[in-house]
């Protein structure tokens, strides 16, 4: 906590692109933050290699104008995240710079060298103490709480506090800024530490104070193909690789909107700025059905889009994860979505190239897969000291080169995630959205939910499995049909094929632009699956292939009309009845 050492200083001796060679005096840490003073500005950078009295520093900004001999200040700290009330509703760049404030100060563009304080120093928060004078505490223990929008924000003993301590004083309930002292804690050596409502933590180290337990609870997303067929666990991990245009970002946005969860951190990492703008402008308007507040109240957005400096792209993912972990420590269920981890991996590649490291596959550094594992392993369910649990679910979009899943980033990701939602060009070309390909995707959580879930869950999983078998059979028949033609297959096969297509059309596909169909809660999904089961089980026979196709098209059309009908709509029951009647009209026995 206390560093007596004076920070090192240095000067630029060589520069190429974003990589500076700095000659320094003093003590320098690997990954220490540095500031380069040039043209009256201070440019943030990070030490990435040290050799003798030379340090290699990668700069997070445009480096134009830097000249030989420019002064370099070493900060003494690693790249840290400021944690405290006010993170939700915020929009940060990859270095936790608050973008809205930057805009107020600097206008349309993002000038380099402008670093503002992430959390407001003037906003007041209503603090209620829970700890008492004399309590023995250790790091991450709760001292009190403040209400922050939808969550109860716990004020914790700083994570950097080592050993056990005694609460010497604690502030009474009242309104405080985050800089005001709310407690004093005396450590084992008798040193008193002032505690405020915010703290700093190095982004690349996980926050994990508690016991990790197996994720067994489902995270519902209101997206049928995920919840019904390839579910995700709270505290689990998933990835959504797909070629461009397959709808990765739309899917991620859907999840960030409709996931049944308390806190969401969206990291827009090296992707289009326009997509973030949709979140920025829509989330303050959209209602969060779970709390009745606005979606932005539960969301923190980290935005380091593709034209923003590449080096900060690497840190953006860690900053987002650290913020989500911080909330998990309060017993909150959090979701971190990164779009896209491939851009993050490319940032690693660029840095590795500049350091002239020996390249691995497709010039990615050899440590790529260990970095990816490290990141996804930060997800998980934590059992906290007070027996409550908090979870962090991580979902990463992957943008494989050429849409080819064999490439290193996709492969390294698949090795560590619990659920794979593979998007395919074929499905998006055929306008089958979400373009998650049911024939290649998988989830390791299904069996776990079946084991730990209730009767309804088991029933739902059972139907989905049955439907999945039909889908595979239908695919086989479809392939055969493309070789031998429709007349080359039997009537039974034709019916199986149409049943598979039916399941795909009415359940797996979902219209994100219909205000009802866009989000289906889990109860309605169960109802829909039960209806699908009736169709799959029905003993149907037809005079001709054409008749079969006509019947299924009509039935499908009716189910889709029902899907588009809100549950509280008077027509809801009627439309379902129509479907069942149509089905009965054709069933034997």
């Amino acid at each position: 906590m206390t560093t007596e050492n004076r920070n090192a200083t240095g000067r630029i001796v060589a520069a190429q692109g974003n990589l500076m060679t700095v000659e320094f005096d003093g003590i320098v840490r690997q990954n220490e933050v540095t500031f380069i003073k040039t043209e009256g500005q201070r440019l943030k950078g990070e030490v990435i290699e040290i050799s003798g009295n030379l340090a290699k520093v990668q700069v997070f900004e445009l480096t134009r104008g830097i000249t030989c001999g420019d002064t370099v200040e070493f900060d003494g700290d690693l790249l840290t995240v400021e944690l405290g009330p006010g993170l939700l509703k915020s929009i940060y760049d990859g270095l936790q710079n608050p973008l809205e404030l930057v805009a107020e100060q600097a206008g349309y563009f993002l000038p380099r060298g402008v670093y503002l304080i992430p959390l407001s120093r003037t906003a007041k928060w209503d603090f209620t103490p829970t700890a008492k004078v004399g309590d023995t505490v250790e790091r991450a223990d709760y001292l009190g709480s403040v209400p922050e929008g939808v969550v109860t924000h716990r004020i914790m003993v700083p994570f950097t506090f080592i050993g056990k301590g005694k609460v010497k004083s604690i502030a009474p309930a009242g309104s405080y800024t985050i800089e005001q002292e709310i407690a004093v804690i005396e450590d084992e050596h008798g040193v008193a530490h002032k505690v405020t409502m915010f703290q700093r933590w190095p982004a690349k180290f996980p926050i994990r104070f508690g016991q990790r337990i197996l994720p067994v609870e489902q995270l519902t997303t209101a997206c049928r193909i995920i919840d019904g067929a390839f579910p995700v666990a709270k505290g689990g991990t998933f990835c959504t690789p797909g070629p461009f245009g397959a709808g990765k970002t739309v899917l991620q946005h859907q999840i960030s909107k409709y996931a049944h969860i308390q806190g969401v951190v969206v990291v827009a990492c090296g992707e289009r700025a326009g997509e973030v703008v949709e979140l920025l402008k829509e989330f303050p308007e959209l209602d969060d059905p779970a709390t009745g507040r606005k979606l932005i109240d539960r969301t923190c957005i980290i935005c380091n889009t593709s034209s923003m400096p590449v080096a900060a792209r690497e840190s953006s993912v860690y900053i987002g994860t650290t913020i989500a972990e911080y909330y998990r420590q309060m017993g909150i269920d959090c979701l971190m979505l990164a779009d896209s981890t491939s851009r993050w991996a490319q940032a690693l590649r660029e840095m590795s190239g500049r350091l002239e490291e020996i390249p691995g596959e497709e010039a990615f550094p050899a440590y790529l897969s260990s970095r990816i594992s490290e990141l996804y392993e930060r997800a998980g369910v934590l059992k906290l000291k007070d027996e409550t649990t908090g979870s962090l679910t991580i979902g990463g979009a992957v943008s494989p080169a050429g849409g080819n899943f064999e490439e290193p980033v996709t492969q390294s990701t698949l090795a560590v995630v619990g659920c794979f939602l593979g998007l395919s060009r074929g499905r998006s070309d055929a306008r089958r959205f979400p373009a998650v390909d049911p024939l290649i995707s998988w989830s390791k959580y299904n069996d776990r939910f079946a084991e730990f879930g209730d009767e309804t869950t088991r029933r739902r999983i059972e139907i989905a499995k049955k439907a999945h078998r039909v889908l595979f059979a239908a695919d086989e028949i479809g392939k055969k049909m493309s070789v031998v033609g429709e007349e080359g297959i039997g009537r039974d096969d034709m019916v199986t094929f149409l049943k598979g297509e039916f399941y795909d059309a009415v359940f797996l596909q979902q219209n994100a632009f219909d205000k009802v169909d866009t989000a289906t809660d889990i109860a309605r999904q169960t109802e829909q699956l039960e209806l699908v089961e009736q169709v799959l089980d029905a003993d149907l026979s037809f005079d001709s292939h054409d008749a079969a196709r006509r019947f299924f098209l009509t039935l499908q059309d009716k189910v889709i009309q029902w899907n588009y009908t809100a549950k509280n709509d008077a027509a809801y029951a009627d439309r379902k009845e129509t479907v069942l009647k149509t089905l009965k009209g054709h069933t034997h026995g």
Binding site: A15, I91, G270, P359
Partner: protein
């Protein structure tokens, strides 16, 4: 202050190295050659007093004794109304017979736009081309490439879109352009009267490779200046594959580790830095970018189209002289379809594409000699109508007419329950005769 250096120590590719002090990264220098030519050069790295310069016009004929003078500023481009109707090369030197422009200058490759200051784009750009307006609507501030192959009429399409839209300013960035193509643009814009609001930055195929890299930066810096002055700018960039190849050439000659097929690992970021200049500014103008990306070997997984696809907001595939409805995509279309345009727009367009996809399969079955079902026959008839009446690039219709034509074609080919459209739309806009069953 101004010091001249007369000793070049190393010359390689487009790179020259000298010993100098106090120079800045990105600073410009003037190289005066012994044969009287002169060129701009840029500091790309330094190691102590060893300074590496990239010479814009290449190192052909550069001697170890040429004089180099540092200018103390980075590359800049003149901007403003004085540029309209004018043509410049990649270094910003006039290519037409006009004088040098002395107006206000801005640095190229400036900082990126603050995302919180962007607005959700929702102003449609009408082109009167059905495959664009109806199926993949173009929206102001969009960045979208035309994926094509050499020989296709992509430059003609670009020129037609440019002259049929209502942009305030058109900026053409030509990279690796054949002289004939440059002449075509010049003639076309002069003929349609668009030249008065057009500025061109042209790198011809035979020009030095470094200038090719500068073209998009020059074009976009000028565009940005116009956009913050409340102008709607349409920026045409053709061909971004030539730009990427220049990046490759220079990065290889600088001995950087290539990542994929010789392209630098930074290709994605390099392309994104340019495309992301597209913007709709709250309370001011906009920049829309339509680019051309020729796909080597018609391979969309080639690094250039592949990286581009991840950056841009969709793409148009131009193939066989028509815009291919499969794969072509405008990511911003949802912002205008059914919101700015008629309510049925989105569902109708999706249904028509879905049916056309089915028709393709039916056509495969037909070509393999299978007996066709009634449904197949319907699909085939539909495909023929769709192709001749909507896909053809000659079709020039207003969006309302396009939608009505869509419903007419559906009614001619299918029964109303076969098209998978909401009953509400069918009743309101469908062209079927008689009441619903």
């Amino acid at each position: 202050m101004v010091k001249t250096y007369n000793r070049i120590e190393k010359i390689k590719g487009s790179i020259a190295q000298i010993r100098a002090e106090g120079v800045k990264l990105g600073e410009l220098a003037q190289v005066k050659m012994r044969d009287g030519r002169s060129s701009l050069a840029e500091v790309i790295s330094f190691d102590g007093d060893k300074v590496t310069l990239q010479i814009y016009t290449g190192t052909k004929g550069v001697s170890t004794g040429d004089s180099i003078r540092f200018l103390g500023k980075p590359m800049q481009v003149a901007c403003g109304d004085a540029l309209l109707g004018r043509v410049f090369n990649g270094s910003g030197v006039p290519m037409d017979s006009g004088p040098e422009v002395m107006s206000e200058k801005v640095e190229i490759g400036g900082p990126s736009f603050n995302p919180t200051k962007r607005i959700i784009p929702k102003r449609m750009i009408k082109t009167n081309i059905p495959l664009i307006d109806m199926f993949n609507s173009l929206v102001r501030s969009q960045k979208i490439p035309i994926f094509s192959i050499p020989g296709e009429p992509y430059n003609e399409l670009l020129a037609r879109i440019a002259s049929q839209t209502d942009a305030d300013i058109i900026i053409l960035g030509g990279m690796g352009l054949k002289f004939d193509d440059y002449a075509f643009f010049h003639q076309y814009f002069s003929k349609t009267g668009a030249m008065e609001k057009t500025t061109m930055f042209i790198h011809l195929a035979s020009d030095p490779v470094v200038e090719c890299l500068l073209v998009p930066d020059m074009a976009l810096a000028v565009a940005e200046k116009f956009a913050v002055q409340n102008k709607n700018v349409l920026c045409l960039l053709t061909d971004m594959t030539a730009f990427s190849d220049s990046l490759k050439e220079i990065s290889i000659s600088m001995e950087k580790v290539p990542s994929n097929r010789g392209y630098p690992g930074s290709l994605y970021s390099d392309l994104a830095a340019r495309y992301e200049k597209a913007v709709d500014i709250e309370g001011s103008g906009s920049i829309t970018i339509i680019a051309v990306t020729t796909m080597p070997g018609n391979d969309v997984t080639h690094p250039v189209p592949d990286n581009t696809g991840y950056i841009t907001e969709g793409q148009f595939y131009l193939h066989g002289g028509v815009i291919n409805p499969f794969g072509s995509l405008s990511r911003l279309k949802q912002q205008v379809m059914g919101k700015v345009t008629r309510k049925d727009h989105s569902d109708l367009a999706n249904a028509m594409i879905r049916l056309y996809a089915d028709a393709k399969k039916a056509r495969d079955r037909e070509s393999m000699g299978f007996r066709l079902s009634n449904w197949d026959q319907k699909l085939l008839a539909y495909a023929r109508k769709f192709e001749t009446r909507m896909m053809d690039l000659e079709v020039n219709l207003d969006i309302e007419q396009q939608l009505d034509l869509g419903w007419t074609i559906l009614a001619e080919c299918f029964d109303r329950h076969e098209v998978g459209l909401k009953a509400e739309w069918i009743t309101k806009y469908g062209k079927w005769k008689g009441k619903a069953a």
